[in-house]
């Protein structure tokens, strides 16, 4: 930024043509911009836009893969069937529950982790940083298998380790009921994704000006007061981004449920419901309608976040 030989250009700002009229140079820049960014843009659009449009189209038909001759147009019929079905609402409830529980716990736990990391002794920090990346990097399916085997009544050690707790013994069947199954699913999700949140929060923590902290300390604020009045408000942007990404991620939960319960005992998520209608039941029409509804839910959440919490993603990323 302390360039002396060149005209003053702010580091983060693109080199732009002089104001007033589109010069040849700026036209060339436009062309170059699209030529460079175009391929990535096209690939992203093709791989997602085409399939979702096809899903929208199929969702208007009664179409079974094994019986293509009897395909018939049903308009919005599939959507009525789904929205009036308790199974859909149960899947939505399970998905929302998993999302809320995991995101809240992850946020609290991730914040605690970030605090420890930020204060940790320099000898310990690299070790912690490496360790914390491991759950993030491990395959979700592997994590789900690990937790499933740990709680499973025959292969697991959890029952024998926790047998001192009332209500838990060698016969405790975690995957036998809805709530205990969901608990284990949530645990595995929390384990896997807390580190990601904590890293985002750690970066946010680093942005809280030390001056403010010191000033508050001088004013006699307790640690707790400083946390709520200084630290958290100053890292709101980081918290919101973490919240948004994790919420959307949690709402699409599929792998863990597939591995751990396969949807038994009312643990089916919306993604899993969509998977079963299209892939297992080969009801392409009905399944596409579930997929489209899932897509709309995700868009709605993203929209609500961005509008409701006024997250300006561009701003948090240093855009204008």
């Amino acid at each position: 930024m302390t360039q002396t030989t060149l005209p003053p250009i702010k580091k983060n700002e693109p080199v732009s043509a002089p104001r007033g009229g589109i010069s040849d140079r700026s036209r060339a820049e436009r062309r170059l911009g699209w030529r460079l960014a175009g391929p990535a843009f096209a690939v992203m659009l093709l791989v997602t836009a085409y399939p979702i449009l096809q899903a929208v189209y199929y969702s208007l038909f009664n179409y079974r893969l094994t019986d293509p001759e009897n395909r018939s147009f049903v308009g919005l019929g599939n959507y009525f069937v789904i929205l009036s079905d308790s199974l859909w609402w149960q899947a939505v409830a399970v998905t929302v529950l998993i999302t809320v529980v995991t995101v809240v716990v992850e946020l609290v736990l991730g914040f605690a982790l970030a605090l420890v990391m930020s204060k940790a002794l320099s000898t310990l920090r690299p070790v912690l940083r490496a360790a914390i990346l491991i759950p993030y990097a491990v395959i979700t399916v592997v994590s789900a298998f690990s937790w499933r085997f740990a709680f499973n009544i025959t292969t697991g050690f959890v029952n024998s380790w926790l047998s001192w707790l009332p209500g838990i013994g060698a016969d405790t069947d975690w995957f036998g009921g809805k709530w205990t199954s969901l608990l284990v699913i949530c645990l595995s999700e929390i384990w896997k994704t807390t580190p990601f949140i904590s890293l985002l929060l750690l970066a946010g923590l680093a942005q809280v000006p030390d001056v403010l902290q010191e000033a508050a300390q001088v004013d006699g604020a307790t640690w707790w007061q400083r946390l709520w009045k200084v630290t958290i408000p100053n890292m709101k942007a980081a918290i919101m981004v973490a919240l948004l990404f994790r919420t959307l991620d949690a709402f699409r939960i599929f792998d863990s449920i597939f591995v751990m319960t396969a949807g038994a005992n009312g643990t089916e998520s919306v993604s899993f419901l969509a998977y079963r209608q299209t892939i297992s039941r080969v009801e392409i029409g009905l399944g596409s309608a579930v997929s489209v509804l899932l897509f709309l839910c995700v868009v709605l959440i993203a929209f609500a976040f961005i509008r409701g919490f006024k997250i300006d993603l561009a701003q948090t990323r240093g855009e204008k």
Binding site: T66, D85, L87, W88, I153, D171, I279
Partner: protein, 443 residues
């Protein structure tokens, strides 16, 4: 009762002869191959056989039958997912895509109608249909038939037996040489404080259990079959359905089904039956081979399997014979295969009595041909061979319909957990499945 009608040794003998011819052809081929140092590999068609995972038996049979083909075709195996549902998902989607790379398929006994109705199976040559139907258990033939035509070739057949610990049955004063009922088993297990193991998990095994109960009570899950999903009439709410629900509920709440009954699979039942609390169990014959393997590995005491007893599947009512569950694999030939004629030729080799006996002895999967049970080696490996044959002769397949996954999915949803089953469950399941079949509800 069907046994005498089925196990006709004369026919079994003919099948074995065919096996011998195949074997000698193989020997001739092997020597000629050795002589010319490899055949004209380029022009030999390769049949791809999609198999369910096993202990290598199907791969071995594939190479035997490739040799027996006299160089006219080669059979390669490719593995499908572990669960029957997973196998079906993959095959149905690929066949719907008219995938030419599938020639032969190992299909679970419940999937033939769906594939046949969709036109995914090449028609079975009439003479072959006659040949393979003879001497094969009626349940297996029924499961291989759709719309009065044989559409797949029965390969091996499975059935559940009632396994008991001799010591427990004796202490409870239960005469196991006579047919026993579910009520008697519950009472005996309660009396001896031992476990009665069954499969209460929300999976295919629940449908297996319910089918056996309803059929044993003299009813059927599908009372009137149809190719039109909306015309299928279900019998879950019939008197037999009610009786089946009652038995299922009584067993589930008996307090002797062991912990984790709602997630108990065949494997969990098998390990329960090896424990000190074991009393009775309904399960497939693989538990015997498994226990023997464990004894050899030194992880199970010899005395445990020595205490195993076996008999026919329990009855629902004392005076009605039981209808044991039927499982197993049928072979399908894809309609999109370029070598359907070779495919059917290969199925005849694969399902020869010789290969069925080999498969039964090495991979633990019982033969669908009754004559195989007379094989001395089978008799030696399976002390319960005669019971298996008797059970298979009486076994009834699960509902045969192109909409099988909807039917079994609906059953699993309504009848799980088994302890929650009540008088109204049958009607609810009936309503749910009908609504799903008419496209008015999700599943």
């Amino acid at each position: 009762m069907h046994t005498s009608r089925i196990a006709r040794p004369a026919r079994g003998g003919r099948r074995t002869r065919r096996g011998l011819i195949a074997a000698s052809a193989a020997a001739v081929l092997a020597s000629s191959l050795a002589a010319c140092g490899g055949g004209d590999g380029g022009s030999t068609p390769t049949l791809t056989w999609y198999i369910n995972p096993d202990s290598g038996g199907q791969a071995e049979i594939a190479s035997r039958c490739s040799e027996a083909s006299d160089g006219r075709y080669n059979i390669e195996v490719a593995q499908l997912p572990r669960t029957p549902e997973g196998q079906r998902e993959q095959l149905v989607r690929r066949l719907a895509a008219q995938d030419e790379s599938i020639d032969l398929m190992s299909l679970d006994v419940v999937f033939a109608p769906e594939l046949a109705q969709a036109g995914f199976l090449a028609p079975v040559p009439a003479d072959l249909a006659d040949r393979v139907s003879e001497g094969t258990f009626p349940g297996s033939v029924e499961s291989a038939t759709w719309d009065d035509e044989l559409v797949v070739i029965p390969f091996w057949a499975n059935t559940q037996l009632l396994w008991y610990r001799k010591s427990v049955a004796e202490a409870a004063g239960l005469d196991m040489t006579q047919p026993v009922t579910w009520d008697q088993l519950v009472a005996a297990a309660q009396d001896q404080q031992k476990i009665l193991s069954a499969q209460g998990r929300r999976s295919e095994s629940l449908t297996v259990w319910l089918t056996a109960l309803i059929e044993s009570a003299g009813g059927s899950i599908i009372e009137e079959n149809s190719t039109n999903p909306e015309d299928i009439k279900l019998g879950l709410a019939s008197p037999a359905g009610q009786r089946a629900a009652e038995v299922m509920h009584d067993v589930a709440v008996s307090g002797v089904v062991g912990p984790a009954f709602t997630t108990a699979s065949e494997d969990i039942s098998a390990s329960q039956f090896e424990s000190a609390d074991a009393g009775f169990m309904v399960n497939w014959p693989y538990v015997w081979a498994q226990a023997q393997t464990k004894v050899e590995a030194g992880t199970l005491d010899q005395s445990v399997p020595e205490d195993y007893g076996w008999t026919l599947y329990p009855r629902v009512d004392a005076d009605t014979p039981s209808a044991p569950p039927l499982g197993g694999i049928n072979l399908g030939v894809s309609a999109y295969s370029r070598y359907a004629d070779f495919g059917y030729e290969a199925t005849e080799c694969i399902t020869s009595d010789e290969n069925q006996a080999y498969y039964m002895n090495t991979n633990g999967n019982p033969a669908s041909s009754a004559a195989v049970y007379d094989d001395p080696e089978v008799q030696e490996v399976y002390p319960m061979a005669n019971t298996i044959r008797e059970s298979l002769a009486a076994a009834k397949p699960r509902p045969l319909t192109p909409y099988y996954s909807e039917v079994t999915g609906g059953i699993q949803r309504e009848y799980h957990p088994p302890a929650s089953v009540s008088d109204s469950t049958g009607q609810q399941a009936d309503d749910l499945i009908s609504a799903v079949l008419s496209g008015d509800q999700l599943l």
